[in-house]
């Protein structure tokens, strides 16, 4: 998944909360990222090409996935696992966000391969940190 230097990174942001989606989108755009949002894990999987409803030829490339942990249906943790199981997508950094600071939850996600775990609500400094990691991964 080669990305040229100077391209805006494309981030997929997954969150069932409308306000949080709007906030994370704005934060990422302010850090010069291209953003696609999804309101749940299933939609995210479809977008990534791992879903049951993915149409041929519509798979988009993303440089990072940031997802809420608590979502109805499939959680962010389960989404993380699906991504890591995919040969195509397992190298894409996944960041988990949560409003709850639960150490076992954090270590569970990190052990499963999440790049970072961030506490909500997200701030500009959090996203700057994320972007830095992202650029580091790409180079």
């Amino acid at each position: 998944m080669a990305v040229e230097l100077g391209d805006e990174p494309h981030v997929l942001a997954v969150d069932d909360n409308l306000i949080d989606r709007k906030l994370v989108e704005r934060l990422l755009k302010n850090s010069s990222c291209k953003v696609t949002t999804a309101e749940n894990a299933l939609r995210a999987l479809d977008y990534l090409g791992l879903g049951n409803d993915t149409l041929e030829g519509t798979v988009s490339e993303v440089n990072m996935i940031i997802t809420d942990y608590c979502m109805p249906g499939m959680t962010g943790y389960e989404l993380l696992k699906k991504i890591k199981e995919s040969s195509v997508l397992k190298e894409v950094p996944v960041v988990i966000m949560s409003s709850e600071n639960i150490p076992t939850r954090i270590s569970q996600c990190l052990e499963e391969g999440a790049k970072m775990f961030m506490l909500k609500p997200l701030k500009q400094s959090d996203v700057k940190q994320l972007k830095w990691h992202l650029m580091k991964c790409r180079n």
Binding site: L18, I19, D20, L23, R26, K120
Partner: protein, 154 residues
């Protein structure tokens, strides 16, 4: 009223909202995301919050009115409201939601009913506060002025 006076009033009013705990630092984050290319960002997000919270409060009222209260569903709705209020910096609403969740955890209906009232009250109060804030901002912009930014550490 002169522009400078309205601007002063806005600054003082905003500060009072922080002092009284209606808003916390997350609101400043929201304001920082507003710029010339997104001049209405705060208004849009806050408006979304009130639309969303109204729905959630209705759901909560209905859920608590059932003969067999589904506490899991209740908690899920409160969790959503807690998340949104936290994201816009509506501190008192957030805190009321935290108390509400504690009563959901122990399945205390009376406690939940009281908390629902409190959450409704806090949403109502902060909504009025925001309306005043936005009205002051509009007055400033109508007079050709710019909205002063609040500095941290007052």
């Amino acid at each position: 009223m002169e522009l400078v006076q309205i601007q002063r009033r806005l600054v003082d009013y905003t500060k009072s909202l922080f002092m009284e705990g209606f808003l916390d630092a997350q609101f400043l984050q929201l304001q920082q995301l507003q710029d010339d290319s997104n001049p209405d960002f705060v208004f849009e997000v806050v408006s979304l919050f009130f639309e969303d919270s109204e729905k959630l409060l209705n759901e909560l009222t209905i859920a608590l009115d059932q003969p067999n209260v589904d506490f899991k569903k209740l908690d899920s709705h409160v969790h959503q409201l807690k998340g949104s209020s936290s994201s816009i910096g509506a501190q008192r609403v957030k805190n009321a939601c935290i108390a509400f969740r504690n009563y959901c955890d122990v399945q205390n209906i009376e406690g939940c009913l009281t908390c629902l009232q409190q959450v409704k009250q806090e949403c109502y109060l902060v909504k009025n506060k925001f309306e005043t804030l936005f009205r002051l901002e509009q007055q400033i912009m109508a007079s050709g002025g710019s909205v002063p930014t609040i500095e941290l550490g007052f």
